[in-house]
């Protein structure tokens, strides 16, 4: 248990490494999804491009949105953005920092999908097989074929089993050509992304380090504050429920004493702890009545102070001492559940 607590504490203290972990998992999931996906080019003139480009561009968009959905901090960002000013001003730099860091992480899985797709080559082969330069690579002067017919033949390039244009242009030649273009695009894309990432990361210390430190601190603060508040409310709810239920049982016990002239069981000193916990309900009939009452008529959400012996209550001056809540354990574990 302590081990988990320590791991969570490590991740929480270094929240960035936790989010990087999620990023890495999504990138791996994206590669896995691509290899599991059964790519099936339609091999028809107008459908090829739509299918090929669709597979290239639609899943990254979905992965990008998924990256935002799975990021727990999106609700925190929305809340901070929409809250009224109240007694605390809003800092747009903090909002920008939170949005940028979420967007950067959400971009990784789509970038991995696009790179893997381009380096594999099937999508580009499918999408652009009708634009292969037949004059350069094959026999452009093939007789008896109209433009439309040529397009139909070229569209079958990705489907080796039904390809019938070997005299027009050899299948392997066309596939190699398209794959070469696709892989070149893929590597260029990866180089571009890596260069952008490098520039973004390395130019920051040169220009806006102080502003960055401030934004990072306050965005982390907002996150911690939200979690702490949720925890405080949960503890409060627990105590509230406990006292409410205790008062309910006490109320039942008092009612029964009043209504049935039960001899009130005095809790004497020699009775055990367990008897005290019975709260005055000590037989089957009473218990059944208590259960029925709990179901039919739940007590109001209002904890009243216990009845005082004098029956008057208000003593005026004497305020009860203010007890601050018990100091919280410093090693409480907080983590985003994604």
């Amino acid at each position: 248990m302590d081990k988990f607590r320590m791991i969570f504490q490590f991740f929480q203290s270094n929240q960035e490494s936790f989010m990087n972990g999620i990023c890495g998992i999504m990138a791996l999931a994206s590669t896995q999804m691509y290899s599991a996906f059964d790519f099936n080019c339609p091999c028809l003139p107008h459908y090829n491009m739509a299918y090929g480009l669709g597979i290239l561009l639609v899943p990254p968009f979905i992965l990008f949105l998924l990256g935002f959905v799975l990021n727990n901090n999106i609700s925190m960002l929305a809340e901070e953005w929409r809250r009224p000013h109240g007694q605390r001003g809003k800092d747009p730099a903090v909002l920008r920092y939170m949005f940028c860091s979420m967007a950067q992480r959400a971009m990784i899985a789509p970038a991995v999908w696009v790179s893997v797709t381009l380096l594999d080559g099937k999508c580009i082969t499918c999408a652009f097989c009708t634009s292969v330069p037949v004059e350069a690579l094959g026999n452009a002067s093939h007789p008896l074929l109209s433009q439309g017919e040529i397009q139909r033949v070229l569209a079958r390039i990705p489907c080796k089993e039904i390809y019938n244009g070997q005299e027009l242009i050899a299948n392997e030649v066309a596939v190699r050509y398209l794959r070469c273009i696709s892989q070149a695009l893929g590597w260029c894309f990866v180089l571009l992304m890596t260069t952008l990432a490098f520039l973004v990361r390395s130019l920051r210390p040169c220009f806006s380090q102080a502003a960055f430190l401030k934004s990072r601190y306050w965005s982390h603060y907002i996150d911690i504050e939200r979690k702490l508040f949720d925890e405080t409310c949960a503890e409060h709810a627990r105590s509230f429920a406990k006292v409410c239920i205790q008062q309910f049982f006490e109320g039942m016990s008092t009612d029964l004493v009043a209504a049935h002239c039960h001899r009130p069981r005095k809790v004497s000193a020699d009775m055990g702890e367990a008897s005290k916990k019975l709260l005055g309900i000590t037989d089957q009939g009473t218990m059944n009545m208590a259960l029925k009452s709990w179901h039919r008529c739940k007590p109001p959400l209002h904890i009243h102070p216990p009845a005082l012996p004098s029956g008057n209550g208000w003593t005026g001056e004497g305020q009860p001492p203010v007890h601050p809540s018990a100091p919280r354990r410093e090693t409480a574990a907080y983590y985003s559940s994604v």
């Binding site: 405080t232 409310c233 205790q246 102070p305 004497g318 601050p324």
Partner: protein, 301 residues
């Protein structure tokens, strides 16, 4: 549990070993990437060289940039380089030391890629098959120039219909692979000798400057980590205090506006303290609404 603590402490105290770990992982990733990558030479006269040399040199640039991005020390070094002087003067030796150690580590994965590529041979065969001298190979000797260009370009593609049973293709392929592997092994040998000499001869030059630079670069790294941890800890305590103040102010407001009897019973003091004076549905709702509409100021004095 102690074991984990020890491992984390070890990593934290010796950030160099973390970086060496990342460096090793990148090198392994580079080999894996090469084996997973489906090398497919276009076998066309104008494209072969661009493709072959592109595959040999573009991924190393990417791996080098990745090595810089993944290394935490890059940011620390840039920060130290660009910071205003303030009360602490800057020592450029430390910055230079950090820079050189970052570069050395970032160069490992690209070099691994290039060597693996050369030892495999496919890239060089694809890039330079078109520049072969046809006189050396029987099958290409009596062919026209245009056809020669096409044929030589198709050498890397074993399954091409023209090349399927061509023995001269195998000869060209073996020749180029031999050169490629010789180049690969030579580069590996030169680099290892250079590394060996650098490590062996280093203590002879400026050892004390080196020790100082290494110490202070570790110090800067550690200082930044501890600063980040302290900020985290501080924000946690700040939030805790802020929320306590908020509950306290709500309790006081409720006392002012209602006629709640002060609690004087002995039994439930523990639980009711945790309730902080908020004891019914309306008060809880008011508290939650106030939390949203009017967050408390960031001031716990």
């Amino acid at each position: 549990m102690d074991r984990f603590r020890m491992i984390f402490q070890y990593f934290q105290s010796n950030s160099e070993s973390v970086m060496n770990g990342i460096c090793g992982l990148l090198a392994l990733a580079s080999v894996k990437m090469y084996t997973c990558f489906d090398f497919s030479c276009p076998c066309l006269p104008q494209y072969n060289r661009a493709y072959g040399l592109g595959i040999m040199f573009v991924p190393p640039i990417i791996l080098f940039l990745c090595g810089l991005i993944l290394n935490r020390q890059t940011l620390v070094m840039l920060d130290e380089w660009r910071r205003p002087q303030g009360h602490r003067k800057k020592d450029l030796d430390v910055v230079r030391y950090m820079c050189s150690s970052i570069m050395q580590r970032a160069m490992v994965a690209p070099v691994v890629w290039i060597i693996v590529t050369l030892l495999d041979g496919k890239c060089l065969i694809c890039a330079f098959s078109g520049s072969m001298d046809p006189e050396k190979f029987v099958g290409f000797a009596n062919v026209t120039t245009v056809q020669l260009e096409q044929l030589l370009a198709k050498v890397p593609c074993k399954d091409d219909e023209l090349m399927r049973n061509n023995t001269s293709r195998k000869a060209v392929s073996r020749y180029l692979r031999c050169w490629s592997q010789a180049l690969g092994w030579s580069i590996l040998l030169i680099l290892i000798v250079a590394a060996f000499l650098a490590r062996w001869l280093r203590p002879c030059f400026n050892q004390d400057t080196l020790l100082q630079a290494r110490h202070w670069s570790n110090y800067i790294d550690m200082e930044q980590k501890i600063f980040e941890e302290t900020c985290c800890e501080h924000s946690r305590l700040f939030a805790h205090k802020c929320i306590l103040h908020f509950f306290e102010s709500m309790r006081q407001e409720i006392k002012l506006h209602s006629f709640n009897l002060p609690r004087q019973g002995e039994g439930d003091e523990g639980e009711e303290d945790l309730l902080q004076g908020i004891t019914d549905q309306h008060q809880v709702n008011k508290l939650l609404k106030t939390w949203y509409y009017e967050k408390p100021p960031l001031d716990v004095s």
